[in-house]
Amino acid sequence: MSQDNGAHAESGATGATTDASLASRAKNPKKNGPKWWLISLIAVIVAVAVVIGVTLAYAKKDNGTASGNGAAQANTVTIGLKLAPTNLDIRNTAGSALDQILIGNVYEGIVARDSKNQVTPAIASSWEESKDGLTYTFHLNKNMVFSNGDTLDAEDVAWSINELIAKQYHDADALEAVSKVEAKDADTVVITLKTPNSNLLWTLTGRAGLVFDKDAKYDLKTQAVGSGPYTVAKFVENDSITLKANEKYWGKNKAKTPTIVVKYLADDNAAVNALKSGDVQVLAPITENLAEPFTSDPSKYVVKAGDGTDKYVLGFNNASGSKLADKRIRQAIRYAINHDELIASRGGADKALGGPIPSLDPGYEDLTDLYPYDQDKAKSLMAAVGYSEDKPLELTLTYANIYGTELGDQLRSQLKPIGIDLKVNVVEFSTWLQDVYTNHDFDISLVDHNESHDFYTWTDPTYYFGYDNKDVQKLYAEGIAATTDKERDAKFAEAAKLISEDAPADWLFNYRITTATAKGVEGFPFDLNQTVLPLYNVTYSLAEFSQK
């Protein structure tokens, strides 16, 4: 301070001295200048060096543990799936993401289904059905336990199914025909029906037949206590699930890999990168087109499409008063859609589907011949109603954004020449639920109806299709009441044909899930893996990896 004052006092007297003193001050920062830059430069170099060093050390350590395990199989397999469950509450929350990860892995049902959609033993080792189809007697396995150590017996089975019906949990409506479920003794359960139901056994392979621990208290949204080969060790909603082998597991599907991590990768690019970088060893599903880098490298990857029950349904609003109430318009649309072109543009794995029943469900018949691609026929049908390309009918297609925009654009251009001006309205899933599903406020809708055995939706006039055909309803009821599978299948097939002829929807294709795995992954199911995904058999041998 005093020096400053001195300078000011002097500056009044002699300018030359001031300049000199200022100049001399100006030199000081100059000395500091390069130092500042030097320090920051060194800091940056050090930081980068540390990062690279740590990275390399980390990477080495990673390889170290890998080779330490030798040629044997990996202790952890990481699987990349797409649609994540928001919670673990399989009793209340819809969505196949939960069925996929929990059924057969964490929870077990009284019966299970295999990758061909057939009923197989699970908690029950065998069962008998009475001649009239009204009584099912299940003989349970012995010495069964839950992952918490509690014993699993007929009491738990009966309690679980009775709870589902009493509390009206998800899928309770599928058990409407059940009059009572009783535990006869420790390993016999008897289910009595009011009316025969040929779908009962299959229904029990899903949520309706799951067995919960009667005595366990836990938060179903964040935990899961079941009797399956795996337990949920960690669950991060919308991100990942870590499964650990259930040490108390009682049955023969013992987990072959101690830890399975499921990562949910919503972004397709992220998913592809994750498989490429080895962060995951399996991707299911992956779109055909994105699978290309893996298909072209068969020495490192296996890519395969599997059968499933996903039906891409272009549902029409059939209610009276709808623009599509006229059957000719619905038929014209079906003739105008070039299914082969749609399937080819998606990579070609999907299968044409001509009616409401997919090949893995009872009553399937190839109905693709009913409405072959025929633009002229479509045009004349539209002309009969009074529409042409110059004077088109305006229709709106509403669907959820999870299916991408390509399908809508393709349909728009395929329907244009026959005189339909299709407005494509891609919305959030919850908006679709509100507008289309609940309020029936739509012309045309597009959904992937992925559930198996959902043929009944065509027999319910209050369902969003608004399809009401008494003959179909009668045939379906007869099929359900049938006591042999053959009789059931025949009735369903007949009903499905009637439906397809009526054209209340167009079935764009039966979506087949493409799965990509790293070489060395064994036991991962390719068929039906978006709803039934048993993981106990999955292994990954690192020997293949180290050869790379």
Binding site: A26, V54, T222, L265, A270
Partner: protein, 325 residues
């Protein structure tokens, strides 16, 4: 002091207003969580039953006051779908997003500030032009593309120099600190480069104005070189403006990094918010939005206070007005 109190009062009023707007706006959205939970194969009765169970049928005013009442006691509610407390949800997500944006911002500052200064200091018009072009390119790179490029360069298993993980966060989170840090490097650089370019432009603009002002002439006439004058006097004068920009950039990055979180499969705040809105998990969404708004306001408050500390002229100005008022 009076200034701070007045700002705090405004803060409370604004929060109240936000709570009303957020609550009302979310109720306008079509669809609800009950139909999401019931799915597309359940009968209508099931949806109605869930709606009743979840309390979605109660009058909106009652729902609002329940929420507000709990909020005042610090209870942000429980997510309907996940069954976890909103505090826990946000905590888990913030433990990814905040480290990401803090590191990202540091990188941005390391890039943006020096380059911004250099752009002003450069004498040759060609060099200035080069800096200008650099800033424009950096600022106009879409985050998604920039991130993909970095993955293609450095992503493990994918990139040319594949050394860094590009997918997801370690399962144990920060329980695995090295892995957690590594998984944030690429996303942080993506954010850093893009935000850095915009910081560079701000620095250049703020400093460039000052470089032609009387302050710099004065400093130079006192004997500083141009470089010294700009860096020592100019930068000090530009400081309040830069602090504002950096503060607000920081606040906007919380949700702004959503695209990057998605690309790198990081379950952060932005990502989570979009999922929750999609699922119509309104209790979670409204509390999350409320907390975000509170965060924005807090940053605004801090910036304002810092502004005053850094720029004494403001203090005097308000001092005068307070006296006259």
């Amino acid at each position: 002091m009076r200034f701070v109190i007045r700002r705090l009062l405004l803060f409370v009023v604004a929060l109240f207003g936000i709570s009303v707007v957020v609550f009302a706006a979310l109720r306008i959205l079509p669809g609800d969580v009950a139909s999401i939970m019931a799915g597309i194969n359940a009968p209508a009765s099931r949806v109605a039953q869930l709606r009743e169970q979840l309390g979605l049928n109660r009058p909106l005013v009652a729902q609002y006051f329940d929420w507000m009442g709990a909020l005042v006691t610090g209870d942000f509610g429980t997510s309907i779908l996940t069954g976890r407390s909103v505090t826990a949800l946000i905590g888990a997500r913030a433990s990814i997003t905040f480290p990401l944006i803090i590191v990202g911002l540091l990188i941005a500052m390391l890039i943006g500030l020096p380059l911004g200064c250099a752009a002003v200091l450069a004498r040759s018009p060609r060099v200035r032009m080069a800096f200008h072009v650099l800033a424009i390119i950096g600022g106009s790179v879409p985050a998604l593309w920039g991130g993909l490029l970095l993955i293609l360069l450095f992503g493990k298993g994918v990139g040319l120099v594949g050394i860094l993980p590009s997918q997801g966060f370690p399962l144990d989170g920060w329980g695995e600190p090295v892995g957690a840090m590594l998984s944030l490097i690429l996303p942080a650089f993506t954010v850093g480069i893009i935000v850095g370019a915009s910081l560079m432009r701000y620095t250049r603009a703020a400093l460039g104005d000052l470089a032609n002002s009387g302050y710099i002439d004065m400093a130079r006439s006192c004997g500083m070189t141009r470089t010294q004058a700009v860096l020592r006097v100019g930068l000090r004068l530009a400081m309040p403006q830069l602090v504002s920009v950096i503060g607000l950039t920081f606040a906007s990055m919380v949700t702004g990094v959503m695209v990057i979180e998605n690309l790198f499969a990081l379950p952060g705040i932005g990502n989570g918010l979009v999922t929750d809105v999609g699922n119509r998990d309104l209790i979670a969404v409204q509390s999350e939005l409320f907390l975000l708004a509170a965060f924005f306001l807090t940053i605004g408050l801090i910036v304002d206070v810092l502004h005053r500390l850094l720029d004494p002229r403001l203090k005097n100005a308000s001092g005068v007005s307070e006296v006259s008022a």
